[in-house]
């Protein structure tokens, strides 16, 4: 029996690496998603600082590709952008079901993401976001608003990238009590510590190399000082452990003090050093370099992320995956979009 596909109209706010990654996977998977899930995904608008492009019938694959982050051609934006239209106009005025929020993370103000998410929920739209800022600052306010409006707010991509963690705990492990969660939530730190340990190279050297490879940002302080991991922990504490934590509740130490000697001594004693984020049901939140036994599942190398969830029924469950990358993050966004479309 053939049934008519349900149309899901999507806007993407913030058309950088993640935003254009979402456009790419939606385009690439469109037929498959229609066949498997009975959903017709349509991107009706994209917005970033260059402008806003709208097509209520769905932007073509060709247009999306032209606007994508890879080709920072302002020309195609100028041509396509709707005069005078802002991101908020797109969110509020153009009819659609799901807003994908993928603007830069700001952990001081949460903006511009915070305003985008609030406006979207108030306009009766579901929100799928990769942006950590609004969630770390205003988690309760946003989830309460979503509940009041009967709308979904999902954010798998914000913590652990491609690694399914939020849905693992909330859906697959439903019924379990979660005792603790610890893991490596920052690929840049993992890369640096792995290279230092394997090659015996000093911190500054490996950091430089990571910048050249595009693994570390020009200003890597948020990663190496543990801030990024701490922000993700706060989101986990609030979403998995139903706490009302903020960044100030986390004891944070980064990896800048780690020496090659320390890594060698650790290795001689049977350990590796990893930057571990840890949160438990008592509300203890800590980010610190820790000794991890070489045979422990938390010992993963390169830029990989890993999380070990300890539960009362299932025992320990470990997930390993890519924490960053536009397509990897888009994978989590896409899965959140499909889940939302099927449940509402």
């Amino acid at each position: 029996m053939k049934r008519k596909n349900e149309t899901v109209r999507i806007s993407i706010i913030g058309f950088g690496y993640v935003g254009s990654g979402v456009a790419e996977v939606v385009t690439r998977k469109r037929a498959e998603i229609a066949r498997k899930h009975g959903l017709d995904l349509k991107i009706v608008g994209v917005a970033d600082l260059r402008g806003v492009v709208v097509d209520e019938d769905g932007l073509s694959a060709k247009t999306l590709r032209k606007l994508s982050a890879g080709e920072r051609g302002v020309g195609s934006w100028k041509e396509a952008a709707a005069e005078g239209l802002t991101s908020l106009d797109l969110i509020k005025e153009v009819e659609h079901e799901v807003v994908v929020e993928a603007t830069p993370t700001n952990v001081e103000t949460g903006e511009p993401g915070l305003t985008h998410i609030i406006s979207a929920l108030e306009a009766g739209r579901h929100v799928v976001t990769s942006n950590k800022g609004p969630l770390a600052l205003e988690y309760r306010r946003l989830t309460e608003l979503a509940a009041r409006r009967g709308r979904e707010l999902r954010f798998e991509a914000a913590v652990g990238g491609a690694m399914p963690l939020i849905s693992l705990v909330r859906q697959n492990l439903a019924g379990n009590g979660v005792i603790s969660l610890r893991g490596i939530l920052n690929g840049t730190c993992n890369y640096i510590l792995t290279r230092m340990a394997e090659e015996g190279l000093p911190y500054e050297h490996v950091l430089k190399e990571a910048k050249e490879l595009g693994i570390a940002e020009t200003d890597p302080s948020k990663d190496v000082e543990g801030t990024d991991t701490a922000v993700k922990l706060v989101i986990l504490a609030n979403s998995v452990f139903e706490r009302n934590a903020t960044y100030k509740d986390v004891a944070v130490a980064g990896i800048t003090e780690i020496t090659t000697d320390a890594l060698r001594l650790a290795s001689e004693a049977g350990f590796v050093i990893k930057l571990i984020g840890e949160v438990n049901k008592e509300g203890f939140l800590r980010v610190a370099p820790r000794l991890v036994p070489k045979a422990d599942p938390l010992n993963v190398g390169g830029t990989l992320n890993v999380a070990k969830v300890k539960t009362d029924l299932a025992g320990e469950i470990t997930v390993i995956g890519k924490g960053a990358g536009p397509i990897e993050a888009a994978s989590a966004v896409l899965s959140d979009i499909i889940w939302t479309a099927k449940h509402f």
């Binding site: 060698r264 001594l265 650790a266 004693a269 991890v292 036994p293």
Partner: protein
């Protein structure tokens, strides 16, 4: 010779004093007492862990046996007499200006507890004014004592600006 002893006392007042008195009578010196009131045994007794020191003389073993006999006579249940005293161990790393800030003092603080000791230490000093790294193995009579010893280490290191990397 340091000895750890697990004993069980009746849950009535005065039992602890009664149990500890014979220790000095047999030439022993009490280093620590862990009274685990909240961990009653099925028969309603209170487990106590005592760490004591007996001078290493030819009669040390005999005096220890005498002490155990005396305790039993007084109705104290002696569950275990520890020859392998330090049962729990952990490795931690210290990174910073360890030598300048007097590593000895940090170690002494732990050794003085009577229930924990620094049993191994490897120090790596790359050069003057550079941060050094050390791997420190701490052993203790039990899990709780080990945690307490680590707390001491962390607090001392923190006060000296030394980073501590502890196991997960």
């Amino acid at each position: 010779m340091k000895i750890s002893m697990d004993i069980e006392l009746k849950d009535i007042p005065g039992q602890l004093v009664l149990a500890l008195k014979p220790v000095s009578d047999f030439g022993g010196n009490i280093l620590s007492v862990l009274h685990q009131r909240e961990k009653k045994t099925p028969s309603g007794k209170i487990p106590v862990q005592v760490v004591l020191e007996i001078a290493e003389t030819a009669t040390a073993e005999r005096r220890l046996e005498g002490l155990v006999e005396e305790l039993k006579k007084q109705g104290v249940n002696v569950v275990r007499v520890g020859k392998e005293r330090l049962r729990e161990s952990v490795v931690v790393l210290l990174i910073g200006h360890i030598v300048h800030t007097d590593l000895r003092e940090t170690i002494d603080k732990i050794d003085r507890t009577g229930f924990a000791e620094v049993v191994a230490l490897t120090l790596s000093m790359p050069g003057v004014n550079k941060k050094s790294s050390a791997s420190v193995t701490v052993s203790a009579v039990g899990r709780e004592e080990l945690k307490a010893a680590l707390k001491i280490l962390e607090a001392t290191a923190d006060g000296k600006g030394i980073a501590v990397v502890s196991p997960i």
